[in-house]
Amino acid sequence: MKLSREEVLHIASLARIGVTEDEVDRLSEQLSIMLDYFQVLQKIDTAEVMPTAQPNALQNVTMSDEVRPSLSSQEVIANAPQREDDFFKVKIVLEE
């Protein structure tokens, strides 16, 4: 199976990654090779098998809701690409 240009662009938009035309072609080819390879799993009968999410079967691990020391706002904002006072500065999120 070969991924179409539209499918590759759709995946790229879901992943929020910009792609050039060259990349679309290359990705279409490379991803298709991988997806073809994955068909090997269809040979295995997994009708009665439960999925494994992670190996150690821990469930519902929670932390108690107590105030404890955390990072200061200065430490948190120190890596901000754009900031204004103690705020992360971003492009407008909701447009009219």
Binding site: R16, M34, Q54, K91
Partner: protein, 486 residues
């Protein structure tokens, strides 16, 4: 005195304890070695000279006060995907090229408490995605055994640095083989612990159900010493298992009489290099001579499916873990965008390298509506079968022996244009992460001067058994004592 750069943790510890050397001397020797050799090896992204000398001074103070522990004052290197407070942590990616973490990974905190002298952060495949360190966005690391060849990946920088004598040990991370395969390629001992044995807090996440941190050392004694320090429950990691950490050095010694070992034939893959096969088979015979009962006909029929399972699960989890890199709170941020979405799309287009983007795309597809059942859910079910098959095998065997890699270190550039070929280098290591079980790679020979590694696999929380086998083997062989001719 032997070249300081060739000593193990335990040898150096004895010298420090008996005051024959100081941590400052040791650290200066390490930094000098880095100055001399790293321009050829390119193992390090950041050299932390100033803080290392400060840590060494503090370590010497502790030692003088009689407060020495096995790792105190010993130069080490940390893979650049583990957060080190106030020290740049890049994951060898443009996305985090200037990222300075405000906190330490738990393993770093633990090593700091033990008096580590961190001399640098090591190069890796970007975001731990790769098997050769060629996917670093900055530069490729060279194998000290042959500079034209790769050191393996993704912990190639850590492995190359220890092999070249830039530090006494290093930490790596392993999601599909990224500690073990570089250990094999650089002739080191490298352990991937049981999933949940070592905290992942502060390890930049790649695939959350597969990632583990582990040691890269010159011998198994050192590996046990590092594990004694870094293993253990951490409430900051919700996948961390609350189980006591034994003194792993106690497992170094008992002989192998009566130990039942299986050699699964599926690991001797078609396309495996003859010299690798021979070296591993010879090593297994040696283990048999040490008293172990070897079944050469063990079989794990789901082995061939591990590649597909891994290359669906890991990219899927990565697509979720790497969604955070949006140029908003930290990291690379594309400035000249017209809109918020364009800013994010261009940030990720230019901040990530091609292998990272490829895997995110693969994972996004596998998780997307209409494909989730056929890919992600299916692979999670096959994952259960792989784990069950190991559980079943461990009823018959105490450990399994396999090659670590089907080949010796390959030439830089040889596989980079063929992703599937590159993925096949991990064929012997992937199942272990899928099942969440521990495995160690130890040197077992050379082929035309290039290292060959043998992998010992155990059931969950059986690191002691792995150490026991590795130790017995290292007592009667000297592969692990050889130094690259660099």
């Amino acid at each position: 005195m032997t070249n300081l750069n060739e000593l193990t943790i335990h040898e150096v510890h004895d010298l420090l304890k008996s005051k024959q050397i100081s941590s400052i001397e040791l650290t200066k020797s390490s930094l000098q070695r880095i100055r001399e050799i790293d321009s050829k090896i390119r193992a390090l992204v950041t050299v932390t000279e100033e803080s290392a000398l400060q840590a060494a001074q503090e370590a010497d103070r502790l030692i003088a006060a009689g407060q020495i522990t096995p790792l105190t004052g010993i130069p080490a290197i940390i893979k650049d995907n583990m957060c080190t407070r106030r020290i740049r942590t890049t994951c060898s990616s443009k996305m985090l090229e200037n990222f300075v973490p405000p906190y330490n990974a738990t393993v770093v905190e633990k090593l700091n408490s033990a008096g580590i002298v961190m001399v640098g952060k090591s190069n890796m495949d970007e975001f731990a995605m790769g098997s050769s360190t060629e996917n670093s966005a900055f530069f490729t690391t060279h194998n000290p055994w042959d500079l034209e060849r790769v050191p393996g990946g993704s912990s190639g920088g850590s492995a190359a640095a220890v092999a070249a004598g830039e530090a006494v040990y290093a930490l790596g991370s392993d999601t599909g083989g990224s500690i073990r395969q570089p250990a094999s390629f650089c002739s080191l001992t490298g352990l991937k612990p049981t999933y949940g044995r070592v905290s992942r807090y502060g390890l930049v996440a790649f695939a959350s159900s597969l990632d583990q941190i582990g040691p890269l050392t010159r011998d198994v004694i050192d590996c046990a010493l590092v594990m004694n320090c870094i293993a253990g429950y951490d409430k900051c990691d919700s996948t961390s298992v609350n189980r006591a950490v034994p003194d792993y050095t106690q497992s170094l010694g008992p002989d192998l009489k009566g130990l039942r070992i299986g050699v699964p034939k599926e690991y001797f893959v078609e396309g495996m290099q003859t010299e690798v096969k021979t070296a591993v088979e010879t090593a297994i015979k040696r283990v048999e001579e040490l008293g172990a009962i070897i079944d050469f006909d063990a079989s794990l029929p789901t082995t061939p499916y591990a590649l597909a399972v891994y290359y669906i699960i890991a990219p899927s989890e990565a697509s979720a873990n790497l969604a955070r890199y949006d140029g908003v709170k930290y990291g690379f941020s594309f400035k000249d965008a017209a809109s918020m979405w364009e800013a994010m799309e261009k940030t990720r287009q230019y901040g990530f390298g091609s292998e990272v983007k490829r895997r995110i795309m693969l994972g996004t597809y596998a998780l997307s509506a209409g494909y989730y059942d056929a890919y992600y859910l299916k692979s999670q079910k096959v994952r259960t079968l792989i784990r069950q098959e190991f559980d079943h095998a461990f009823q018959k065997y105490d450990a399994l022996l396999t090659p670590t890699s089907p080949t010796v270190p390959f030439v830089i550039g040889e596989k980079i244009d063929n992703p599937l070929q590159m993925y096949l280098s991990d064929i012997c290591t992937l199942s272990v992460n899928i099942a969440g079980i521990p495995a160690i790679s130890i040197p077992c020979g050379f082929s035309k001067g290039l290292p060959v590694g043998m992998q010992i696999i155990g059931k969950p929380f059986s690191e002691e058994t792995l150490f026991r086998v590795a130790y017995a083997y290292q007592q009667v062989t000297d592969w692990h004592l050889r130094i690259p001719p660099i």
